[in-house]
């Protein structure tokens, strides 16, 4: 193969037709890297071009893309990230999920920037990659195994303890709509149900070993930049707390803010928060610190349970989100049980956020009498019952019983199917469960959930500045002209600006291969200027900040256009009633609701989207070089195709009607 015009990239990708068993090695089209960088930028471009709106997420015609970016595997900080992109089985629209670890760099060392899986294997298979040797193998012996066993068996089979594996567990095999893909070592690409796409394709695992290097355009300057960025991160004021406690350290902070969802989002604080806090976790269960590829922070930890009912539990990547979803959301305050539940989610291949959301939904339905005793399969669905939690996770992953099968569909679909007023207790946006970030306590986060391209999500924008008032970070990014409102969690002023800017930058980070928790958002030592310089030094591509900003906008607009092909409009940019009608009863947020009606019109204006439809205007798309997208959107609306696609999504919009409930 001739040398790829840009360094930093491997320059080729794999296209694997699972139906026919064909594997092609193809050069990466220049348009992909020049206009979409990599990661989910290229991912959405492939979905847009190759997966029409009438294709269902679990159809063979859906495609699963595993994508790295130009910075993945490089020496600058936190470059172990990779993206999984497909039409989401949970939401029916654009879906992606991101994981750290070491798989992404390994894929590039093997010589590939991304893999596109299409079709459906007639029998379970796995893909092995060892540099040039790329093969599909039977995986019948792995089917039914949990993710830990699958990874271990593959490493034994290939006699390589350094083999990096991305695989699904029983949940993905059973097409649980929020099944995760687990990545060596115990990292989760959990959101959007990418594991179910793998399961539908009968693709159990991808195992990769690469021994090559990555060519750099300016290696000496890159090394100097890497050193500078590592040093800056290590001396950042936020470094010590993130390094010591990781995201679990946020539990205690979210409590007084009122942003720690409890009992299915009724409350924003949990009286048992100290039992499941980062401090308790470190004191009682820490085995050792660990880190992803090229990460100076090491927010990841390994935790064990050494005694009691859950002795023998071993965890890593226990995050704030999980402590909430499997803890406070359900009123479970036994930390060892939460760790066991997290371990089972990782082994079974389940998204902890959506799993916790679904179980919280079921517990509230039981409390309200909407779910009858005969439908509970003999389980006690009282709030706080840890054994019910762990049993239900097993049943969901196996789709066992009425309740297991119902909740495997995800909260929003389960409510749509069940009816009986259950819809009002489904806490989702566009089909995806809301993470542990209550928009009443942080206005920007409420907006971010509704504008996220993959349904409710904190990471598409990750607007951390107004979480607790990060004044110095705000000044560093934007100067002082937006203060104090920009950093006031309860203010709405400038939040549309913040969310839009963060979404565009997040699109770049997710498309480059570095990490949002590792120096780009929290302690943003790598911001637009450094990111542009890093990409330029890596690839040799002319890369200014303005070009990078426009690329971020292009990616985000194409995601919105893709969702619009499926009938998504401003009507879907809404939160459930609990966030917009019921004042928060908790902490600093007490008395606050989320004011989407103020922030959304400003957001559409800043985006250049039509306020009446919430869709990108022709002018906006033309500015971003997406003229053809506008024509396709118009045609889809005019023909009724987008409306037809919307009716196939399988979930009802969040309940926003009147309610008698105070909480």
């Amino acid at each position: 193969m001739s040398e790829y015009p840009y360094a930093g990239y491997a320059g080729q990708y794999l296209r694997v037709d699972l139906t026919k068993g064909n594997i092609q090695k193809l050069p990466i089209p220049l348009d992909w890297v020049e206009n979409y960088l990599g990661g989910n930028g290229i991912g959405v471009k492939i979905l847009w071009d190759e997966v029409p709106a009438n294709i269902q997420p679990l159809d063979p015609e859906n495609k699963l893309i595993i994508a790295t970016g130009p910075l993945c595997g490089l020496p600058i900080p936190n470059t172990g990230r990779l993206e999984f992109i497909a039409k989401s089985p949970l939401t029916g629209i654009y879906g992606d999920s991101n994981a750290g670890g070491h798989f992404g760099p390994e894929l590039k060392f093997a010589g590939y920037d991304l893999i596109v899986f299409e079709g459906q294997a007639p029998e379970p298979v796995y893909l092995s990659i060892h540099d040039d040797r790329v093969e599909l193998h039977p995986a019948k012996h792995l089917w039914g195994r949990d993710t830990f066993t699958t990874e271990a068996l593959l490493q034994q089979e290939h006699q390589d303890p350094n083999l990096r594996v991305a695989c699904i567990g029983p949940a993905g095999e059973h097409l649980v709509r929020y099944a995760s893909i687990q990545v060596t070592y115990r990292r989760s690409a959990a959101r959007s149900g990418m594991g179910a796409v793998m399961g539908a394709k009968q693709l159990k695992a991808v195992a990769v070993r690469g021994t090559g290097g990555i060519r750099l355009a300016e290696p000496v300057k890159m090394q100097a930049l890497a050193l500078k960025l590592h040093q800056r991160i290590r001396t950042n004021p936020f470094y010590r707390s993130v390094h010591t406690y990781g995201t679990p350290g946020l539990v205690a902070l979210m409590q007084p803010i009122g942003r720690f969802p409890t009992q299915n989002f009724r409350y924003g604080s949990f009286d048992g928060f100290e039992d499941i806090s980062g401090e308790a976790l470190r004191e009682q269960h820490l085995l050792r610190d660990t880190a992803c590829y090229s990460c100076p922070i090491g927010c990841d930890k390994v935790y064990t349970v050494t005694d009691g009912e859950y002795a023998g539990t071993l965890n890593s990547s226990v995050e704030y989100e999980t402590l909430n979803a499997l803890g406070a959301r359900l009123c479970v305050r036994q930390l060892d049980a939460v760790l066991k539940a997290n371990e089972r989610c990782d082994a079974l291949g389940l998204d902890t956020i959506s799993a916790g959301g679904a179980i919280a939904f079921a517990m509230e339905l039981a409390e309200k009498g909407i779910l009858g005793p005969a439908e509970m399969d003999g389980l006690d669905l009282r709030w706080g019952d840890a054994r019910t939690l762990i049993t239900l996770l097993e049943r969901i992953a196996a789709r066992q019983g009425f309740l297991g099968d119902l909740l495997a569909e995800g909260t929003a679909r389960a409510a749509h199917w069940l009816g009986r007023g259950s819809e009002r207790y489904a806490m989702h946006v566009k089909g995806q469960d809301i993470p542990a970030q209550d928009g009443r306590a942080q206005q920007s986060m409420g907006l971010a959930h509704v504008t996220s391209s993959r349904g409710a999500d904190h990471l598409k924008a990750f607007p951390v500045l107004d979480e607790t008032g990060a004044i110095e970070e705000a000044v560093r990014r934007y100067g002082d002209k937006y203060l104090p409102d920009l950093v006031n969690p309860l203010a709405t002023q400038y939040k549309a600006f913040l969310v839009k800017d963060c979404e565009d930058y997040a699109a770049i980070v997710d498309s480059s291969g570095n990490c949002k928790s590792g120096g780009t958002f929290v302690m943003a030592e790598i911001y637009w200027q450094d990111q542009a310089e890093a990409i330029r030094l890596a690839t040799g591509m002319e890369m200014s900040v303005s070009r990078l900003c426009q690329t971020g906008e292009r990616i985000y607009n194409l995601m919105r256009c893709y969702n619009a092909l499926h009938g998504i409009t401003c009507e879907d940019d809404t939160l459930p009633w609990r966030f917009t009608q019921i004042p928060s009863p908790s902490g600093n947020a007490r008395g606050s609701i989320c004011h989407l009606e103020i922030m959304l019109p400003e957001y559409y204006r800043l985006r250049g989207w039509d306020a009446r439809t919430g869709l990108p205007t022709q002018r906006t798309l033309a500015r971003l070089g997406l003229e053809a997208a506008h024509s396709r959107l118009r045609a889809a609306v005019a023909s009724g195709a987008s409306k037809a696609a919307y009716e196939q999504l399988g979930w009802s919009p969040p309940y926003v009607g009147p309610t008698k409930d105070a909480l």
């Binding site: 004021p237 350290g249 007084p256 401090e279 989100e321 607790t468 600093n588």
Partner: protein, 93 residues
């Protein structure tokens, strides 16, 4: 005199050697006064985190009875029974 309760989170607890303490303070004592007192009496590592350039470190996160303390509240007098929560720079999700 007033009596307040101070709680230390994240690595602040390790730096000052306790998770919480009750303090008797003169009437009129403000949050700024409190942070200054804690900085003066605490070990050097703790002092560096909570006090900077003759004022509370802007990265310090302070809650007074579950209310986030912004610049406008730093000079508000404390009251008996107040609980103050202190966090170092921390953020994310």
């Amino acid at each position: 005199m007033i009596t307040i309760h101070v709680r230390y989170f994240n690595f602040l607890a390790a730096y000052i050697g306790q998770k919480s303490q009750s303090l008797e303070l003169p009437d009129g004592f403000t949050i700024t006064d409190l942070i200054h007192k804690l900085a003066q009496e605490g070990p050097p590592a703790f002092r560096e985190i909570v006090w900077r350039e003759d004022q509370p470190n802007p990265h310090l996160r302070i809650f007074q009875n579950d209310t986030l303390v912004d610049n406008n509240r730093m000079k508000t007098p404390l009251a008996t029974g107040d609980t103050i929560m202190l966090f170092p720079a921390i953020s994310g999700g």
